[in-house]
């Protein structure tokens, strides 16, 4: 029997190639979507889960009122937190403090110079985290102030594959914290692929404590991340409420709430809004899972619709089999096994397509996924396929086998109204989803376009950023002076951090006329060079820029418009601010400019003219002379940093990276929408063909009675175009709600207007008309005699 059914299946494929192809392409495409998303999601979910103590591993966060009525969440903590936790909190089994450098450091052996990214971590780092040590002892690796632990990768680039770098020395120079010393390699670690963090070397936290100005080791200065292993049975909720006022008890002047979050959750749920976890990458994980399931559902619907629509063809077989003694169960099994067979065919196709697409997919999503066949994945994929086959096969199987043999063989089956409704409902569902995706694509695209072109308050084009390393640490000013003379260079300056984020913030400043509420106003600030404002093209609102008041910049301050407004200063120029330390006089106010992604409103900002902690040089290049300018800079750089490659980044590229996940979402949704539409159209194509077939006689009669080809084609198309219009009515309002919800997270956004929705509708309609119309015309063109003679 199995052989018989298989033969039947294969031969009917051969005879009805087009519906087989429609189903195969549809289901394969659906499965490709699901497989890709499955790979992506499982990769996302695995991030940072490799740590042996994952369940106990927590990060310390702080919520602070920002002086504007809401809370800001920070991961940075005072270095005092480490010992406080270790000594005073019994629930903490182990803790480690980590200080990350802003930029790369320069590492040097007698043979080689490299720049690498590193951090300083306290003793238990390799015990709290499970980055495997290839060599060295995780208990003592960070104990000695003169030792360093490096990554296997860095070890290879310095000493070559296979050599043993243990005990060798490396000179490390870092401008930010003024590190300039020789360290002995005491350990080599590896970073597993599914770690969200990348770093090349780890210095002992003791180095940090040794170099830090003791003035900055207090409960106000938050520079380090703190990670803890909590004891296994700690109830995190109770623990968090117990710990909330931990810092406030130490320092009466601050109003901060401490809380602990699971470290491995941070990757997907790392965004906080007003002190609460909101959104983050998890949104996209959920979103794409849903989209993939929908695309697969659309493909399943095609299968159901086509197989029931073309039932007439199979009904005879069912009738004959029933007449010769087949029972319903065996027929249901036959149909189910056919759909399963088809889905497994599709799976095989999908597998190869995924293999083919994976490099591209990795590129789009910025991942490094390998499609490795492993147990749990094979099982889930097989389950997905099985489910797809069963779902898409069940309706046709139950439908086709329910008729009695007599009725079938006498051709007395008429399609019931209910059935037609189901079929139409499914088509409406397909197009609703497709329309939603089209709107999503266009809204995301327009918003990203808006972000790219929005006036940020500074010019991001033709600016390059160079890390302050090596020779630049001590001779930065000289380098800049010489750089300004180079052809193609318009201006040059320096700054702390980057233009996409001022990582420093402070509060507790006072000024004349301050209200109680604004005492806690949090400022973002950066140390910048004297001609920073000019180099970046930031506009002055009033007062002077630093370039005009050299050399007495250390006691001055420049604020942005927002800061002045929130501080309530009527005449800011000349006002003196107490910055918990030196008093500073406001000499100028700049117009607001965006330093974060446009999710956020412009924060109150301060620009301080200092060289301390400066990590980047910024150079403005004349448009069109990039090549010349960079050639000159490369030469100059080599003079200051012999042996080190000139490494620079364009600011506009850095800016793009702020929206990396949006770009990925934009690209992915484009392809998913394309696939959804493709599958929906395939289905529509099949259904029109079927409808034309079913109404052959009607068409014949109409034509004999004198109706023109155009009218007949119109009548056939209208049947389906109507469905698309209904789908529009259903999905466009939903699309509007979803789009405004997505946009609401941006502080700066496009306004939604009818165009996006009408446009999506028109696209869907055109595609549908194109698909249906060709079939309808073909049907209308047939000679009516053939259709009528058959009766």
């Amino acid at each position: 029997m199995l052989k018989h059914n298989l033969v039947l299946f294969l031969r009917s494929i051969k005879r009805h190639k087009s519906s087989f192809l429609i189903n195969l392409i549809g289901l394969s495409t659906g499965l490709v979507c699901v497989l890709l998303v499955y790979l992506w999601v499982s990769d996302e979910l695995k991030k940072d889960k490799f740590h042996a103590n994952d369940e106990q591993l927590y990060q310390v966060r702080r919520n602070i009122p920002n002086g504007q009525g809401s809370l800001a969440t920070f991961t940075s903590n005072s270095s005092l937190m480490l010992t406080a936790l270790q000594q005073e909190v019994p629930e903490v089994e182990m803790a480690t403090a980590v200080y990350e450098f802003d930029g790369n450091a320069r590492l040097e052996t007698s043979e080689k110079k490299l720049s690498a990214f590193g951090m300083m971590a306290s003793d238990d780092f390799f015990k709290v985290f499970s980055y495997p040590l290839v060599s060295g002892d995780k208990n003592t690796a960070l104990a000695d102030v003169n030792s360093v632990v490096i990554s296997a990768e860095l070890a290879n680039s310095f000493f070559g594959q296979g050599s043993d770098p243990m005990g060798k020395t490396i000179a490390i120079k870092e401008g930010e914290e003024n590190i300039d010393d020789v360290f002995t390699i005491v350990g080599i670690f590896e970073i597993p692929k599914n770690s969200s963090e990348r770093f090349d070397f780890v210095l002992p936290y003791k180095t940090f404590l040794k170099l830090r100005n003791p003035d900055y080791i207090n409960w106000y200065s938050n520079s380090s991340s703190i990670y803890t292993l909590l004891k296994p049975n700690v109830d995190i909720k109770a623990f968090n409420s117990k710990m909330a006022d931990f810092i406030s008890k130490k320092n009466q002047n601050v109003d901060e709430q401490v809380f602990f979050t699971r470290y491995s959750d941070n990757y997907l749920k790392g965004t906080y809004e007003n002190g609460k976890q909101m959104g983050g990458r998890i949104t996209y994980v959920i979103l794409f899972s849903i989209v993939a399931i929908f695309v697969l559902a659309i493909a399943c619907i095609n299968f159901m619709n086509l197989s029931t629509a073309r039932a007439t063809r199979r009904l005879k077989e069912v009738g004959v089999k029933k007449a010769v003694g087949a029972n319903r169960t065996s027929l249901i099994l036959q149909f189910l096994s056919e759909s399963l067979l088809l889905t497994f065919f599709s799976l095989i196709c999908a597998y190869f397509v995924v293999l083919l697409l994976l490099p591209w997919f990795n590129n789009v999503t910025g991942k490094d996924i390998v499609f490795a066949i492993e147990g749990s994945m094979v099982i889930s994929i097989l389950l997905i396929t099985l489910l797809t086959g069963l779902i898409s096969g069940s309706y046709p199987a139950l439908y086709l086998t329910k008729f009695s043999a007599v009725k079938v063989l006498k051709g007395k089956i008429s399609t019931s109204v209910g059935e037609l409704m189901v079929r139409k409902g499914l088509v409406i569902f397909q197009f609703s989803i497709s329309l939603l995706l089209i709107v999503a694509v266009s809204v995301i695209y327009m918003q990203l376009d808006y972000i790219q072109s929005k006036n940020l308050g500074y010019t991001k084009d033709n600016v390059i950023m160079v890390e302050r390393q090596d020779g630049l640490i001590n001779n930065m000013e000289v380098f800049l002076e010489e750089a300004r003379q180079l052809p193609g260079i318009v201006n040059a300056s320096y700054m702390q951090g980057g233009m996409t984020n001022f990582s420093n913030s402070s509060w507790g400043h006072s000024w004349p006329g301050q209200t109680e509420e604004t005492k806690k106003l949090t400022f973002r600030h950066a140390h910048v060079g004297p001609d920073f404002i000019e180099t970046m093209g930031i506009e002055m609102k009033e007062g002077l820029s630093y370039i005009n008041v050299k050399p007495d910049n250390e006691s001055k301050i420049i604020l942005n418009e927002t800061a002045v407004k929130l501080m309530g200063l009527e005449n800011p120029i000349g006002t003196v601010i107490d910055m918990r330390g030196p008093n500073r006089e406001i000499i100028g106010v700049v117009k607001d400019f965006n330093i974060q992604s446009l999710y956020n409103e412009v924060a109150p900002m301060a620009l301080l003219c200092r060289t301390e902690w400066v990590s980047n040089l910024v150079l403005k290049i004349r448009a069109g002379e990039e090549r010349k300018a960079i050639a000159g800079l490369t030469k100059l750089y080599a003079e200051f940093n012999p042996g080190l490659d000139f490494d620079f980044r364009f600011l506009d590229q850095q800016y793009q990276e702020l929206y990396q996940s949006e770009q990925q979402v934009s690209a992915l949704s484009k392809y998913f929408a394309g696939m959804a539409i493709l599958i929906s159209c395939l289905g529509l194509f099949g259904l029109t063909a079927f409808s034309a077939e079913r109404r052959r006689k009607e068409i014949g009669i109409r034509k004999v009675l004198g109706q023109g080809i155009g009218q007949v084609a119109l009548m056939l198309s209208a049947e389906f175009v109507k469905l698309v219009v209904i789908a529009m009515a259903i999905s466009l309002p939903i699309a509007y709600l979803l789009a405004s919800d997505w946009l609401s997270q941006f502080a700066y956004k496009i306004t939604l207007h009818a165009g996006y929705f009408v446009g999506a509708g028109v696209i869907a309609l055109l595609v549908a008309i194109g698909t249906v119309g060709s079939q309808a015309l073909r049907a209308a063109n047939r000679n009516p005699i053939h259709a009528l003679k058959e009766e």
């Binding site: 029997m1 018989h4 033969v7 039947l8 031969r11 009917s12 005879r15 005879k316 077989e317 009738g319 004959v320 089999k321 029933k322 007449a323 010769v324 003694g325 087949a326 029972n327 065996s330 009695s404 043999a405 007599v406 063989l409 006498k410």
Partner: protein, 220 residues
């Protein structure tokens, strides 16, 4: 007694009225009979045939098949009964287009739990008996109507039924092909197979040993 119908009624409701398809049918069929059922269109010939073949139900009356009360049997039991004892021949042949002659013949055996080797020999016998060995790998569409009906009859016979029910078996054939099929029926009947056929043709009806006339669902 092979078939015994007592007071069989069958009706459909249409607009609050009962329309009778079969009205008080009483019929006894002995093994070895060859019966032709005649009557104008819509007189209930095919309905009667389908009721006897257990493909259709009836609303009132008693039907004994080989002394088993069909009207009291469960669906499954009934299916077993007709699977074992009844073969159908259709006007439109109803061969499965995607299967070869060989496979079409084999199909009924698949639903009877007959072993592969036995199936092979049964199909081979049948091909032999009907002289269609050379056509066994052809598809139905490659055969003439007469040949297709030949395969249809062979398929009905392969399960060794006691009763063949034929619904206008010659309806789609030309007179020469029709005559061949009738002669085949006669031969089968002589070999002991009971045959009940529905026909429009007086000439073909004459092949039967007994003729039953129906009018408006009633035997006349």
């Amino acid at each position: 007694m092979l078939v015994e119908l007592n007071n069989i009624f069958k009706w459909v409701q249409q607009g609050g009225q009962r329309i009778f398809l079969l009205k008080d049918i009483n019929l006894k069929v002995e093994e070895g009979e060859f019966i032709s059922i005649m009557g104008p269109s819509g007189s209930g010939k095919s309905t009667l045939l389908n009721v006897m073949g257990m493909l259709d139900t009836f609303d009132e009356g008693e039907y004994d098949f080989l002394d088993e009360p069909v009207h009291k049997l469960k669906e499954k039991h009934r299916a077993n009964l007709y699977k074992q004892y009844i073969g159908f021949v259709f006007q439109a042949y109803h061969l499965i287009d995607e299967l070869t002659v060989y496979e079409n013949l084999e199909m009924p055996l698949l639903y009877k739990k007959i072993s592969g080797s036995e199936r092979k020999s049964l199909v081979a016998d049948m091909l032999d008996r009907f002289n269609i060995v050379g056509k066994k790998d052809l598809f139905p569409t490659q055969l003439s109507g007469g040949q297709q009906q030949l395969v249809g009859v062979a398929r009905a016979l392969i399960g060794k039924p006691k009763l063949i029910l034929a619904d206008e078996p010659t309806g789609n054939l030309n007179s020469k092909q029709g005559e061949d099929i009738m002669k085949l029926f006669q031969k089968l009947n002589n070999e002991g197979v009971t045959i009940i056929q529905v026909t429009h043709s007086e000439k073909n009806a004459e092949y039967g040993k007994r003729i039953i006339n129906l009018l408006d669902g009633r035997m006349v």
